[in-house]
């Protein structure tokens, strides 16, 4: 147990140090030129995108993931079994954003920061690169064993580097992520995973895009379900963004997506969900 505790402290320090580095990098000089946005919303599919809210922009996200579509009429094809997440993303500058959320998944709270390290622009950088670091805590009762149910045990961390490019109507993103769960109750020890989300988006009208995302997860534990896969439609109405998606995951933050994807497309165990993003301008 002492070894695990030391490991937890060491990894937590590393994660915090990485978050500070990413944040500091974002304070570097800002290019004033126009840039290409591969994605409009700060989230795409089940993960963060390279996009950030503009300076002074507050984005309020209402996310729902419903129950299994195959549940039939009794559960109204999953509508009776909603998991929700309410979240806020705020742009402190055009390079630094932070956000927080609360999800009914694990009665969890999550915090994150995003820093635009590079932006795609014509004649400039060919790729957009955004560093992301985040934390979440599961606050469910009666899940963690007595004596190991403090905030440190319940915490998860991630660091991620999202790299995207837009080429005409097609946008693509690769966003490797290192994830750590301090105490994973299903294996009774800490858990560290690496995943490589791959996202492709095809804009087929001025305001609509079809998006697919696949997340291969490496170092899968014994209880692991399926690699997350989603397909959806992004609609930008100006003041609002709608993201409709079908996925084998009901997760809306990293812990939920990377360790608790239990659906299976090949067995028809898929879930419908949406994100509704409302934009407020505070400056």
């Amino acid at each position: 147990m002492i070894g695990i505790a030391n490991g937890i402290r060491q990894h937590s320090r590393l994660t915090i140090a990485a978050a500070v580095l990413i944040f500091a990098a974002g304070t570097l000089s800002v290019s004033g030129q126009d840039y290409e946005r591969a994605f409009i919303s700060p989230r795409t599919g089940m993960t963060h995108s390279t996009a950030l809210p503009a300076t002074g922009e507050l984005q309020f996200t209402i996310g729902h993931r419903f129950g299994e579509i195959g549940g039939g009429f009794y559960d109204m094809f999953g509508l009776d079994l909603a998991t929700i997440r309410l979240g806020f993303d705020y742009g402190f500058s055009d390079r630094i954003a932070a956000g927080a959320g609360r999800s009914s998944f694990g009665k969890s709270y999550d915090l994150f920061t995003k820093v635009a390290l590079a932006r795609q622009s014509e004649g400039g950088t060919p790729l957009a690169i955004t560093g992301i670091a985040g934390w979440s805590v599961n606050t469910l009762r009666n899940v963690y064993p007595a004596g190991s149910d403090g905030i440190v045990d319940r915490s998860s961390f991630f660091i991620q580097m999202a790299v995207s490019r837009r080429q005409g109507a097609l946008s693509a993103q690769v966003s490797p992520v290192l994830f750590r769960n301090n105490l994973e109750t299903r294996v009774d020890e800490d858990l560290t995973l690496f995943a490589l989300p791959v996202t492709a988006s095809l804009k087929f009208s001025r305001r609509m895009a079809f998006t697919m995302q696949y997340i291969p997860v490496f170092r899968q534990p014994s209880f692991f379900g399926q690699n997350p896969l989603s397909a959806g439609l992004d609609i930008d109405t100006g003041g609002h963004q709608f993201q409709l998606l079908f996925s084998n995951s009901t997760g809306m933050f990293e812990k939920a997506v990377l360790t608790d994807t239990g659906g299976d497309w090949t067995e028809g165990k898929i879930y419908f969900g949406f994100n509704l993003v409302r934009v407020f301008y505070l400056k």
Partner: protein
């Protein structure tokens, strides 16, 4: 539509058609892991990966089944997949129940729902022991 646009759209469509089936195929369910034969799952208690099962209250999750040492040489096997949203449940030896860390569902050791949001019980599988080998019949 000029020639360049036609080429671009054909390339996009072709890429989608090639990539989509490949991605779906990669999600195909894998066959039973080591020890799985037909509908039976065998677990060797002598293997380090299964060492937790040598202690009362110890458990492992494998092939979507949670196997628990309930004491006095007895073992219980249940579906590890929460009937609410498909998450994997764990086992609390102190409370002798199975909580789900996703939405808080709680199941009794016999599989029954103690607390929702799950409404259906976990499936229970017969377990037999021969020497150091557990056989779970699915």
């Amino acid at each position: 539509m000029n020639r360049r646009e036609v080429i671009r759209k054909v390339a996009m469509g072709g890429t989608t058609l090639v990539v989509l089936p490949a991605m779906l195929a990669s999600c195909e369910k894998e066959p039973d892991g080591p020890g799985g034969g037909g509908n039976d799952l065998t677990i060797d208690l002598g293997l380090p990966a299964n060492a937790a099962l040598n202690n009362t209250g110890g458990f492992i999750v494998t092939n979507n089944i949670i196997v628990i040492n309930t004491g006095s040489g007895n073992y219980t096997a249940l579906s590890a997949v929460c009937t609410h949203a498909g998450c994997t449940v764990s086992y609390s030896a102190a409370a002798n129940n199975l909580p789900c860390a996703c939405h808080g569902s709680l199941f009794a050791i016999g599989g029954a729902v103690i607390n929702g949001p799950a409404t259906s019980p976990l499936a229970v599988y017969p377990v037999s022991k021969s020497g150091s080998i557990l056989t779970i019949t699915r």
